[in-house]
């Protein structure tokens, strides 16, 4: 039994934490939050590329470091903890994973080295309006060469260079690769609950596109990409939850009311103990997802759904109770609680809402039992 990360992976995590504490400080996050024209932190993005994080899981033949998904998980946790204002998840968990999963050799050779070098930002465009996306609900159309339709919202769609888009092709759904810097693509930046990450509405009018993976296999591929991303986002959520708990503990020790530390009141203690229990449940499920992801285990769909459901609930709980522990100060713009409260909601929705993943989890339990 070795259900833990290796010493090397822990060292990578330490290194990431130190780097992000310096380069993705609250001040850096707020610089993006407070500037509507700033989509992401360019210096941080360059720094992350130089450290090789963007290509951590990309094979060496395609310009990456050729490490495993476990290394990516420890980086994700630290990125989540730091509320890093960079298009990391869109580029690495979605765009690069989709290419590695379904791309032809030519597509991999064309895009992965640029991702690893930080020269290209990628994104993944699924949503077209309110409500959960299904294979039947997709209206964007691909005719074998061009793409038409609207995707809203697309996380990091305002700054991305390339997108993987789910579109109807014939009777089925296909994934297609689209260069966003072309005449057939119109972008509109969207205001969202978490301004530290960019979002856009993308309108495609006879945009040039090429298929990624087989025609009609797009929905299955999208589900597979979502399962992989779900595990990695769960680590970001665990990192964010843990940061909220640490903030709340720190405040509860230093803040006095009725002439005593508020952390000595059971009402506060029990709240923080509940944060801890939620995080332990989420972390344990996320580790299982990491194991399934890194070993390409058949349990991945079940493990990813459990990790995702647990982590979304944990981050929501920790972020809102961190504000509550801070009292009135927690409701001010100046105190950082809301950075986590905002990011918690974005991450809960980025790869599908909690209710969607809970339904997937039960469906996958049914499938497992039927098998």
């Amino acid at each position: 039994m070795n259900f833990d990360f290796s010493d090397d992976q822990k060292a990578l995590k330490d290194q990431a934490r130190k780097f992000l504490a310096d380069k993705s400080s609250a001040k850096a996050v707020r610089a993006v939050l407070n500037d509507a024209d700033k989509s992401y932190d360019k210096d941080l993005w360059r720094g992350v590329a130089e450290l090789g994080w963007l290509g951590a899981a990309i094979p060496e033949e395609h310009g990456g470091l050729g490490l495993g998904r476990l290394e990516l998980c420890v980086l994700a946790e630290e990125i989540g903890r730091a509320v890093a204002p960079i298009p990391f998840s869109s580029t690495v968990y979605f765009f690069a994973e989709a290419l590695m999963l379904a791309g032809s050799d030519a597509q991999k050779s064309a895009h992965l080295p640029k991702v690893a070098a930080g020269e290209v930002i990628g994104c993944f465009a699924l949503s077209e309006g309110p409500g959960a996306v299904t294979a039947a609900s997709i209206e964007a159309k691909f005719d074998g060469a061009t793409l038409n339709g609207v995707k809203i919202p697309v996380t990091d769609g305002d700054c991305a260079d390339w997108a993987v888009v789910a579109a109807k092709e014939g009777g089925g759904v296909s994934l297609v690769l689209v260069d966003l810097n072309q005449a057939g693509v119109a972008r509109e930046t969207l205001k969202t609950i978490d301004p530290t990450r960019g979002h856009a509405k993308l309108a495609f009018t006879n945009a040039k596109a090429e298929r990624l993976g087989a025609a009609g296999q797009g929905w299955e591929l999208a589900e597979a990409v979502l399962d992989r991303a779900a595990v990695l986002i769960a680590f970001e959520q665990v990192g964010g939850s843990h940061a909220c708990m640490e903030m709340a503990i720190d405040y509860a020790k230093g803040r006095y009311a009725f002439s005593r530390q508020i952390g000595s009141f059971q009402a506060i203690k029990h709240k923080l103990a509940d944060m801890y229990v939620n995080i332990e449940v989420a972390r344990s499920n996320a580790y299982y997802g990491a194991w399934a992801l890194s070993t390409e285990a058949a349990e991945l769909p079940f493990a990813a759904a459990a990790a995702r459901a647990a982590a979304s609930d944990a981050y929501y709980y920790c972020a809102k109770e961190n504000i509550q522990t801070h009292g009135g100060m927690g409701f001010t713009w100046e105190v950082d609680c809301h950075l986590f409260f905002r990011r918690a909601k974005l991450l809960a929705l980025q790869a599908g809402a909690p209710a969607v993943w809970k339904e997937k989890l039960v469906k996958r339990l049914e499938q497992r039992n039927a098998a």
Binding site: M1, N2, F3, D4, F5, L70, M245, I249, A252, K253, R260, Q261, G263, S264, F265, Q266, I268, K269, H270, L272, A273, D274, Y276, V277, E280, V281, A282, R283, S284, N285, Y287, Y288, A290, W291, S294, T295, A305, A306, A309, A310, D313, A355, W357, K358, E359, L361, V362, L365, E366, N369
Partner: protein
């Protein structure tokens, strides 16, 4: 990351499995039915026989030192044996408190003669031990124990009452926390003793629980004599001894009880949804709840794997394992409550002849309130997590610097 045993662990697991297959029945509805048929006396006899076989085969006291009759193995091996034993209908319960908590305390605080007298017999199952801590006025605040011991020559004379003592009615010995000095602070006037449960003046009365069962006892002490050589630790150091006992409680990694998400998942396929057409499993609100139960049950199981990993590396698990009971007791109640309510009025029937799972959901529903209280209430466990894991300050103490006899105690 991998879930595999080391070669040594795998060999041990295979040996454990072979032993269990040769001596007890695998868990099944049929095995449980047969166990339920046994009278308490027959069950105890079966438990003692099983414990003797365990000791003979080297599966009792796995982590205890060889001088104490143990195997001297790291804690991971005890966890492996517990995992395998958990798959069988093994009558191990009567020994869990004695061997898990009481006897390790005796070993830690006794001289060689005392250890020679008690340890081997306990390990073989010849003698059963219970833990006498809680009192009517000392539950969560167990250091408020009032049962008193007064020195009389080479003996101590005990008067008072303990309560919620698991298995006292079939125990031979107990470890007993008493007040020897009411003139000092609460935690400083306690002393721990070994008590002979068959001694004159010890009166054990079974408690009739709200659930209908009788698993716990009240124990009354009237002028009971305990020789001074049965004292564990110095007079006044009883609280430190008790902390060692409670530390061992954490190593006895707790499992879940009663029907879990798998049982209610199967149940939901066969019962109609109260909100509309079709089976309960098709009901969206039910499916969302089921997902929450899966996440928590799997999360707890996986958290134990993380504890096992720490154990394999020679680390000792800390108070973080307190999360188990906080998760399980509430979840057990929630699952049982949902299963019962889903049946509409039929849900009131707990007669095994008619009820789903022969009434297991009802048993779970009625026992869960006790589990939320036993072994530290949910509230005390959350205090422990907050103070010992998260480092939050202690509550303001009104009993500091005050002699025990001057503390307010209410009714």
């Amino acid at each position: 990351m991998d879930f595999n045993d080391t070669p040594e662990e795998a060999k041990f697991r295979a040996d454990a499995r072979a032993f269990l297959e040769a001596n007890v029945r695998p868990k099944s509805a049929e095995a449980e039915r047969l166990s339920r048929k046994l009278s308490p006396k027959e069950y105890l006899k079966a438990a003692k026989d099983y414990q003797a076989k365990k000791a003979e085969a080297g599966f009792a006291g796995i982590t205890w030192a060889k001088e104490q009759g143990g195997r001297g193995l790291p804690p991971i091996y005890a966890v492996i044996f517990n995992q395998e034993e958990g798959k069988f209908d093994a009558p191990a319960a009567p020994f869990s408190i004695g061997l898990g908590m009481c006897v390790p305390t005796v070993i830690a605080f006794s001289d060689e003669a005392t250890k020679d007298r008690y340890v081997a017999k306990a390990l073989r199952g010849d003698e059963i031990w219970c833990q006498l801590f809680s009192e009517p006025g000392a539950g969560s605040d167990v250091a408020a124990s009032k049962t008193k011991a007064v020195r009389d020559g080479d003996d101590w004379i005990i008067n008072g009452q303990k309560v919620w003592t698991t298995g006292a009615h079939f125990s031979d010995f107990g470890i007993l926390l008493v007040r020897t000095n009411p003139d000092v602070e609460k935690h400083k006037g306690l002393t721990m003793f070994i008590v002979d449960m068959k001694a004159p003046g010890v009166d054990v009365r079974q408690i009739h629980q709200a659930s209908g069962g009788r698993d716990f006892n009240e124990v009354y002490f009237t002028d009971v004599r305990i020789p001074d050589k049965n004292r564990l630790g110095e007079p006044g150091m009883g609280w430190n001894v008790a902390l060692v006992t409670l530390m061992n409680e954490r190593l006895a990694v707790g499992g879940s009880y009663g029907p879990d998400y798998k049982e209610i998942f199967d149940f939901a396929k066969g019962v109609a949804s109260p909100t509309g057409e079709g089976a309960l499993i098709k009901d969206e609100a039910f499916r969302q709840k089921l997902a929450d139960w899966i996440v928590r049950a799997e999360g707890y199981k996986l958290a134990k794997f993380r504890t096992m990993t720490a154990l394999s590396k020679g680390q000792t698990p800390g108070p973080e394992s307190s999360i188990g009971k906080v998760i399980n007791a509430n979840q057990m109640m929630d699952i049982a409550n949902t299963a019962i309510e889903a049946q509409d009025l039929y849900g009131v029937i707990d007669d095994p002849a008619y009820a789903a799972l022969e009434g297991a959901f009802h048993q779970s529903y009625m026992f869960a309130p006790g589990l939320r209280i036993a072994g530290g209430t949910d509230e005390i466990l959350k205090n422990i997590i907050a103070e010992r894991v998260l480092g939050l300050p202690q509550d303001v103490r009104v009993d500091k610097g005050v002699a025990f006899k001057d503390l307010p105690s209410g009714r």
